[in-house]
């Protein structure tokens, strides 16, 4: 499909670096599916749908900088929704959101709430004012907070807070956040042999977004993050490249930085 025209109808500054753009397009999507967002004349980047009619953008570079500065009436191009989303399983679930990773998890929380599931969400960020959707998640279930600098909630990494829960008691765990946070959570789940009960939304460099070019494939399975993912089961990821390396736009392997640098 060619990009559809979407006009920005509302701009919400969620945190100092994260902005939600509401659009005049409502997409029928599963929680965890993404769209390709075209900033005309500049770039096109993948973004989760945080609502059926909104994306939530963290400013990290050129395209996200322009998106973060958009005003009501500005327009972008939208292709999608693409990819496989999260699947709700069981009755007692945990959501683990690091940074902007809360964006694809919010529609899942809303769906789980509508279905009356018992839900615990862990929201983590570097500092208290960077916590995303804490209030929205708390409308759908219990919320625990972790910040690196201790300015709010638990003082430390999300993974340390996760470790304080009886994870066995959850039917399914849903995770999205910085790569090494996800790897940290996967390691914890694996140690308790419950990795098959988890779903992770991955981030890789996307070009086509539709499963043809091969830019986003992960080792060693050759699965495409854009089409076979972005959501993968934890047991699929155990022997994968997750947390070890990813590829840049050229296809070259980039070894993962340290945990602190990636959050």
């Amino acid at each position: 499909m060619k990009p559809r025209n979407a006009i920005i109808t509302e701009v919400i500054h969620e945190t100092p670096t994260i902005t939600t753009l509401k659009m005049d397009l409502k997409l029928e999507a599963l929680p965890g599916q993404f769209v390709m967002v075209w900033v005309r004349g500049l770039d096109e980047v993948p973004m989760a749908l945080s609502h059926p009619d909104a994306i939530t953008v963290q400013r990290v570079g050129e395209a996200t900088n322009v998106l973060s500065g958009m005003q009501v009436g500005d327009s972008i191009g939208i292709r999608g929704p693409f990819g496989n989303g999260f699947e709700l399983e069981g009755t007692r679930i945990m959501l683990i959101a690091g940074g902007v990773g809360g964006a694809p998890l919010l529609p899942l929380a809303r769906l789980a709430y509508a279905k009356g599931l018992d839900m615990t969400t862990i929201v983590g960020a570097r500092t208290g004012d960077e916590l995303l959707f804490e209030q929205q998640f708390s409308q759908c279930g219990r919320v625990s907070v972790a910040t690196d600098d201790g300015s709010k909630g638990y003082h430390g990494f999300v993974t340390e807070l996760v470790n304080q829960f009886d994870l066995e008691s959850f039917d399914q765990l849903y995770v999205c956040g910085p790569e090494l946070m996800m790897k940290g959570v996967l390691d914890i789940l694996q140690a308790q042999a419950i990795e098959a009960r988890s779903q992770f939304s991955l981030h890789r460099y996307f070009k086509c977004g539709i499963g043809v070019c091969g830019a986003c494939t992960i080792d060693p399975s050759g699965q495409r993050v854009c089409k076979d993912g972005p959501v993968f089961k934890g047991d699929m990821l155990i022997y994968s490249e997750l947390g070890k390396y990813h590829r840049d736009a050229t296809g070259k392997k980039i070894v993962q930085e340290r945990f602190e640098d990636s959050l």
Binding site: M1, K207, I210, S221, R224, G251, K252
Partner: protein
């Protein structure tokens, strides 16, 4: 029931079936190529590899149209030095791995081929509109095509295929130039130049402004190119362009292709190779024919 034999010998390589993954599609990594080998491809072609790492064009780099796909990837690749490891992994797939190579002049092709030792064959991409230096001229200048093919043949200790662009007045002239340079086979066709413009804003959609059309829209163009090349050349012709099912394979072979490549159709199904080979085997069995019977059949029907 005995399975119809689809195995072929192509420029000295043994293929279990004639359905090959086309260059630039799911060919970024060794494990991706291996996955396609596991899904039934008779051979796989890597993405086109150059001298230096290249990030390619800005996005959008590819999208679907009603009639096919437009892409302008811009030859993203990590350089041949970085790609060596991927080639080794790809070969674990157990099918021939053809390294696609692009460059601006004969020396660059030689350097990459020498540096990417270990491929089962090399496919020279003299058909992409984005190569630096000679640019689009690389594959449209018959003298250059002969020189590049010669240089590649000297550098390679494996067969050399030359992939042709349809964006020329006469593709046969370029095919003959490749044959003259010693090519073991030609591959036709690469994408057909195209463009799309966003009517909401007036911006060209592709980051590169224009790009290449692939998929169903170019199938008739590819059939005609293969038909003409088969008639003029003595070396094998490999057909590519808009193949999405076994009927398309049969048609391409009737035009003269002894093998086919499939690119865009992985969009519909990653299992496309198994699907088309199963269909082809059934077709041949139902009609009591072998592969050789259909290759070039259209020429024999009309007596050339």
């Amino acid at each position: 029931m005995a399975r119809t034999d689809l195995s072929i010998e192509l420029t000295g390589l043994a293929l279990e079936n004639p359905a090959i993954l086309a260059a630039g599609v799911l060919g970024t990594t060794g494990s991706s190529l291996k996955r396609i080998a596991d899904s039934g491809a008779g051979a796989v072609v890597t993405k086109s590899i150059g001298i230096e790492p290249k990030p390619g064009h800005p996005n959008p780099t590819m999208f679907k149209l009603g009639c096919g796909f437009l892409n302008a990837m811009g030859l993203p690749n990590p350089s041949y030095k970085e790609f060596r490891g991927e080639l080794i992994t790809a070969r674990e797939g157990g099918v021939p791995v053809i390294a696609s190579v692009f460059g601006a002049h004969p020396d660059e092709f030689s350097q990459i081929i020498t540096g990417l030792d270990g491929a089962d064959a090399y496919e020279l991409n003299v058909s992409c509109p984005h190569a630096s230096g000679y640019g689009a001229a690389v594959g449209t200048d018959p003298v250059l095509v002969t020189e590049i093919t010669k240089a590649a043949k000297q550098a390679a200790n494996a067969p050399v295929w030359v992939k042709l662009t349809p964006n020329v007045t006469d593709i046969v002239e370029i095919g003959e130039a490749a044959q003259k340079g010693g090519a073991d086979a030609v591959v036709a066709i690469n994408t057909v130049r195209g463009m799309a413009i966003d009517i909401h804003s007036g911006y060209p959609i592709l980051g590169n402004r224009f790009g290449g059309l692939s998929g169903a829209a170019i199938h008739p163009v590819a059939v005609k190119c293969v038909y003409d090349l088969y008639q003029a050349l003595d070396i094998p012709v490999i057909g590519v362009g808009g193949i999405a099912n076994y009927q398309d394979v049969v048609e391409m072979m009737m035009a003269g292709a002894c093998a086919v490549q499939i690119g865009s159709a992985v969009y519909d199904s990653i299992n496309i190779f198994n699907e088309v080979t199963a269909g082809l085997a059934r077709y041949l069995a139902d009609n009591s024919m072998e592969l050789d019977d259909i290759i070039g059949m259209a020429h024999r029907k009309v007596g050339r």
